[in-house]
Amino acid sequence: MYTDLVMDHFSNPRNVGEIEDADGVGQIGNPVCGDVMRISIDVDDDRIADVKFKTFGCGAAVATSSMVTEMVKGKTLAEAAEISNRAVADALGGLPPNKMHCSNLAADALHLAIQDYLVKAGREADVPQILKALPKDHAHSSH
C-alpha cells in the first residue's frame, strides 16, 4: 500500500514540531475530514531557514508533511512555492490513489505558511508573483 519511503517518513518523521514565534504559519484540512496539517517556517534572506510540521491524519498525511519539510529547507520562497502536492507524492515514490486527494495537502500548507510570512512581512504585493495559485481550503466534496 505505502512505499518504503512513505513508511520511513511516517515512522521517523523529520521536522516534527512547531517553531515558536514562527515567521509564517499555514494550516489546512479539518478534523472532520481526518487530516489537518500545520506548517511553520522561519525565513531568512528569502530562504526557508527552518520548517516544522504538526499533522493529524493518516500515514500519508504524516509522510507528505515530513517530506515537504525536507524538500524545502534552504530553498528560496519562490522555489518552495513551485513545489506541488503532486511533487511531494512523487518524491515519496507515489501514494495510494485514495490518499492523493485528502491526505496529500502538505505543499498547500507550506504555501499558506509562505503567504502568511509575506503578509506579516508587509510584502502582500509579492504574494501573486511568488504563489501563482493559492490553495483553497478544500470543501472536501465527500462530506
Partner: protein, 385 residues
C-alpha cells in the same frame, strides 16, 4: 519480533484442523458433485455432510442451508433475493449495518424500494421504538445485524424478529460476526434468514451460507445449472464447503471454553487501555458485546496512524471496518453512536481470537501509551493538558 494478531473481526486464520479436512478435496477427491460417477458422488456426500454440520450449528434443518461464496453474497441474496419477488414497497435496516447489507439496500432503493435506517443509541443498540414505528403496510422485510463488526454490540434479535412478524414482515439477520463466537439458534431467534461467513470463524475465505427458513421463497441472484436448490448456481466450492462445515463444527465444540476466556481477555485489554491512556472513549455496549471485541476512540489522533505504528511494533489491529472502498470517511457505525467526525477518525478496533493470550494483551497495554503519546506530540489538535 512480536507478532500479535488482534484483527479477528476482519478475518481469522483457517484452523489447521479445518484445513486438514479440506485438503483431500483439492487434488484427490476433486469430483464435481453434479456428476454421477464415484468421484462426483463422493463430492456430493461431502457437500451434504457439511450442510448437515452447518445446519446443526444453527439448529436449522439441512434443507434450510444455502451455500454462497461468502457473507456479502449471502446478505445480498437475503435482501435482494427476498424482496425482488415483490413489487417495490418498503423495508427496514439498522443504521449500523455492514456495507454488504447497506449497499444491497441502496441497490434496492435505486430499484424503487423505500428503506428506513433505524438509529442506534450511544452503545450501538437499535432504538426498538423507532424500529417498531418504522413498519408500514407495505413493509416486506427488516434486516438487523446480530452483532456489529466495528463496536461489537449485540442486538435483541429475537425481539426484533418477533416485531417484524407481528407487522407481517420477514426478518433477516447478518450474523457474520456472531456465528462461532456466541451460541446461535435460529429457532430461538425466530429469524427467517441468517447470514454467516467462513473466514470469520476459522474457516476459509470465499464461502458463506444463508439460512433460509422452510417456506421462505427467494429468487436467485446468480443463474445457471440450478445448484443449491436453484438459489445459487455454479459448481460447488467443495473444499470451501467442507471447510465451512468443519469450522462450524469446531466452533460449536469450543464455544463453551473460548467465550468466557475471550470475554475476560477483552475486559482486561479494555481496562488496560482506558487506565493507561487519557482521553480514550470505549465504544459499544459494556456487556452486550462480542466476546472478542474491544473498540475505542483516542482523541486528537487518527486511526490509521495508530494502526501503522502498532503494526511497526508487531500488533495487527484495525481502525474500523475493513472494506475495499478505500473510503476515508469516518465509519458510519461510529458516527451513528453519536460521536463527532473528529472522534470517529480516532477509532481503533482490537478483535481477539482463540489463539490470543493474556501476555499478548499485556504487551499491547505496554506498547500502546507511548505510541499515542508520540502521535499526540505530532498532532496540531493536541494541546498538552
Amino acid at each position: 519480533m512480536t507478532s500479535v494478531y488482534f484483527d479477528h473481526a476482519a478475518t481469522t486464520p483457517v484452523d489447521p484442523r479445518v484445513l486438514e479436512q479440506m485438503l483431500p478435496f483439492f487434488c484427490e477427491r476433486y469430483g464435481n458433485p453434479s456428476e454421477v460417477h464415484r468421484l462426483g458422488r463422493d463430492a456430493r456426500t461431502a457437500v451434504e455432510r457439511a450442510r448437515a454440520q452447518v445446519a446443526a450449528g444453527l439448529g436449522a434443518g439441512e434443507k434450510e442451508i444455502v451455500f454462497t461464496a461468502g457473507g456479502t453474497e449471502a446478505d445480498n441474496l437475503a435482501l435482494i433475493g427476498y424482496l425482488q419477488r415483490f413489487e417495490p414497497g418498503h423495508f427496514i435496516i439498522s443504521a449500523i449495518e455492514h456495507p454488504a447489507v447497506m449497499e444491497a439496500a441502496r441497490a434496492l432503493n435505486r430499484l424503487g424500494w423505500a428503506v428506513d435506517f433505524i438509529p442506534v443509541d450511544g452503545d450501538g443498540v437499535i432504538d426498538v421504538d423507532a424500529y417498531e414505528q418504522a413498519f408500514r403496510d407495505d413493509t416486506k422485510l427488516a434486516s438487523v445485524m446480530y452483532a456489529n463488526n466495528v463496536v461489537g454490540t449485540i442486538q435483541p434479535i429475537a425481539e426484533l424478529a418477533r416485531v417484524a412478524h407481528e407487522k407481517g414482515a420477514a426478518f433477516h439477520t447478518d450474523a457474520v460476526q456472531g456465528v462461532g463466537s456466541v451460541p446461535i439458534d435460529v429457532g430461538a431467534l425466530g429469524v427467517d434468514m441468517l447470514t454467516l461467513s467462513g473466514h470469520k470463524l476459522y474457516g476459509p475465505k470465499g464461502i458463506g451460507a444463508l439460512y433460509v427458513k422452510r417456506g421462505t421463497r427467494l429468487t436467485p441472484l446468480i443463474h445457471g445449472g440450478g445448484h443449491e436448490r436453484r438459489l445459487r448456481s455454479g459448481t460447488e466450492n467443495v473444499p470451501g464447503i467442507v471447510g465451512l462445515g468443519a469450522a462450524v463444527d469446531l466452533a460449536q465444540a469450543q464455544l463453551a471454553e473460548t467465550r468466557p476466556r475471550l470475554e475476560a481477555l477483552r475486559d482486561r485489554l479494555a481496562r488496560g487501555v482506558l487506565e493507561s491512556v487519557p482521553d480514550v472513549k470505549y465504544l459499544g455496549h459494556p456487556t452486550e458485546r462480542l466476546p472478542g471485541n474491544v473498540a475505542f476512540t483516542v482523541r486528537y489522533i487518527e486511526g490509521e496512524s495508530m494502526l501503522l505504528q502498532l503494526d511497526a511494533h508487531g500488533f495487527m489491529v484495525s481502525s474500523g471496518s475493513a472494506c475495499a472502498s478505500g473510503s476515508l470517511e469516518p465509519s458510519h457505525v461510529i458516527l451513528a453512536l453519536g460521536l463527532g467526525a473528529e472522534e470517529a477518525h480516532g477509532s481503533l478496533r482490537l478483535t481477539l481470537g482463540r489463539e490470543n493470550t493474556r501476555e499478548e494483551a499485556d504487551a499491547f497495554i505496554e506498547v500502546f501509551p507511548p505510541i499515542v503519546d508520540k502521535l499526540r506530540q505530532m498532532s496540531p489538535l493536541y494541546v498538552k493538558g
